[in-house]
Amino acid sequence: MTASYKEPLIQVRGLEKVFRIKGGMLEKKQNLRAVRGVSFDIMPQETFGLVGESGCGKSTTGRLILQLLRPTGGEVLMEGKNLASMKGRALKEQRAKMQMVFQDPYASFDPRQNIYSAVSEPMVIYGLAKTKRERREKVAQLLADVGLNPDAMEKCPHEFSGGQRQRIGIARALALHPQFMVLDEPVSALDVSIQAQVINLLLEMKSQYGLTYLFISHDLSVIKYICDRVAVMYLGEIIEMADKETLFAQPLHPYSQALLAAAPKIGEQRTGEVLTGEVPSPIRPPKGCAFHPRCPHARECCKQVPPVQKLPDGRLIACWLYA
């Protein structure tokens, strides 16, 4: 899938985000290090998956790439241009090429807007379709693409079910014909039978519009179904990154192994050890390998930062076991 002669569409280099958390009046402000030096490439027309548990920084990474949050360190290159240093007009122009679909289909629409104005607003902002007629046609086309009746235009968001709203969210994101889309847990809030509809729609849209996806999810089975390459995040860092087949067939990092083992599989009893303990606070991440307090293979050297290595099969891994 990832042809080597192509240039990556998105390059993320040493991305960092530190949130300043207010303490009380007399307390020092604390640093919450949500994303700590994340690097990866996304090839054109690839679906790149970010997987991890809550608080691992996967959603923050998605927002940093789109510059919805400004990084405190590192760069994000889209077609070779650094988004992190862009402002104003330049950034706005770049934004048209990258869009986002949100997790919560209920909260991602202005309750006072009808579907027509929600989907057409990006076109108005960028002056894409000049007349109202053109816009109406465009919106009707987009709604038809995502499998909705164009009559939906006149209705308000609350008249739709979660699955339908997610379709509208996809239509809105497609309105500017972006190249790249960040999908932040797009099916997590939906019922199983509706999830499958939306996943299939996302795949259809990808081939129809030639899209590149960053797919963020905690659900390993969905990640595995839709992604080409996957990065596993833990406490703001990527600890393993590989082709989907490689990773799911043989996860190497102890955390990836534990994560895969913990996910319940249909028709199988659980195998393997259950990971003990909980994710430490990102305000005071453990020294060295962030996973070592929970790792069954932890050794003395794990208190130092593990080197990120490229293995012969092309995967990246940050673990002393493979150093």
Binding site: K22, G23, G24, M25, L26, E27
Partner: protein, 318 residues
């Protein structure tokens, strides 16, 4: 908890300073010479000159503020123009009435509104609940002073059960039965203010009833009484206490007006008459004191709020 209190007290300092600046500037914002403002129109040339010197009027405004603040910290708020007393002494004479009146009104508010609010919540959507809600809305629409006038007409003038006006000091005479002079005034302050607490108690209890932890409490097999008292009411107090700030503000306003209605020798009436007479040192002093009292009350409200809700204590003042 102690940490929280200290933090909260320290966080009061900026507001305190800003408020004092505002009260200080008051005299300077009034058109005309501040020294004349402070002494009244009948002052002599020399005394004006002396006052200028004292206030440091030929110095920069910042210095004047510090001079004034220095005096205030030592309890010197200047002298009244019309009464032959210091402002501090004038206010001290009047404090008893206002404090007693306020306390009595507050006790009445709590005693009336909490039980009624609880009943309305427990009997939600019955005729009783609707009756209480209507009554609360009616009370909220009644001006305290008008209520006072009517109560006076009925109970003092017509029936002669209670004295119409005035208040002989309890502390100086040692006669607690003098409190009867404050019964009608405190009722007329309290009743309009019960409305907010009744409504807050009711609506926050109804909100809390929907919470998951109330379902948990029921799933434990607790009796309905235990669920209502320990879980629903206890948690709804958080919202009720947070609205106490409003009630106290309204209570102080109510006190000022009601003192005028019943001719009570309180701080509020002092303020009204001082404004009429343009006795600016007294006006300034009274406003400063009331603002300070109001701030301390709000501090106490916040502390009790933290006492009720452990989440506040730990995440500390926002």
């Amino acid at each position: 908890m102690l940490r929280y209190i200290i933090k909260r007290v320290l966080s009061m300092i900026p507001s305190l300073i800003l408020t004092s600046i505002m009260v200080f500037l008051m005299v300077h914002l009034i058109p005309g010479d501040p020294a004349i403002t402070m002494l009244g129109d009948s002052a002599t040339e020399e005394s004006i000159e002396q006052m200028r010197e004292e206030m440091g009027l030929n110095q920069p405004l910042v210095n004047q503020y510090f001079i004034w603040m220095g005096k205030v910290v030592h309890g010197d708020l200047g002298d009244s123009i019309f009464q032959n007393k210091s402002v501090m002494a004038t206010i001290a004479d009047r404090a008893e009435t206002s404090v007693l009146l306020g306390v009595m009104a507050m006790i009445l508010i709590v005693l009336i509104s909490l039980p009624i609010g609880i009943i309305a919540a427990v009997k939600v959507n019955t005729w009783l609940d609707q009756g209480i809600s209507s009554l609360a809305m009616f009370l909220a629409s009644v001006p305290a002073f008008w209520l006072g006038l009517n109560l006076m007409l009925l109970f003092s003038v017509k029936l002669g059960w209670l004295p119409t006006s005035g208040f002989p000091s309890v502390f100086r005479s040692g006669d607690w039965s003098n409190l009867r002079y404050l019964i009608l005034p405190s009722i007329s302050i309290a009743l309009p203010n019960t409305a907010l607490i009744i409504r807050m108690t009711r609506s926050s209890m109804l909100d809390v009833i929907k919470e998951d932890y109330v379902r948990t409490a029921r799933s434990k097999g607790l009796t309905e009484n235990a669920v209502y008292i320990k879980h629903v009411f206890r948690n709804s107090l958080i919202a009720v206490v947070s609205s106490l700030g409003f009630v106290f503000a309204s209570l102080i306003s109510g006190t000022v007006v009601t003192e005028s209605v019943f001719s009570l020798p309180g701080v509020g009436q002092l303020l009204v008459s001082s404004i009429m007479l343009r006795d600016y040192p007294v006006i300034q002093g009274v406003i400063l004191i009331i603002a300070l009292v109001f701030m301390i009350i709000n501090l106490l409200v916040d502390i009790s709020y933290a006492k009720i809700d452990p989440r506040i204590r730990y995440t500390s003042a926002k």
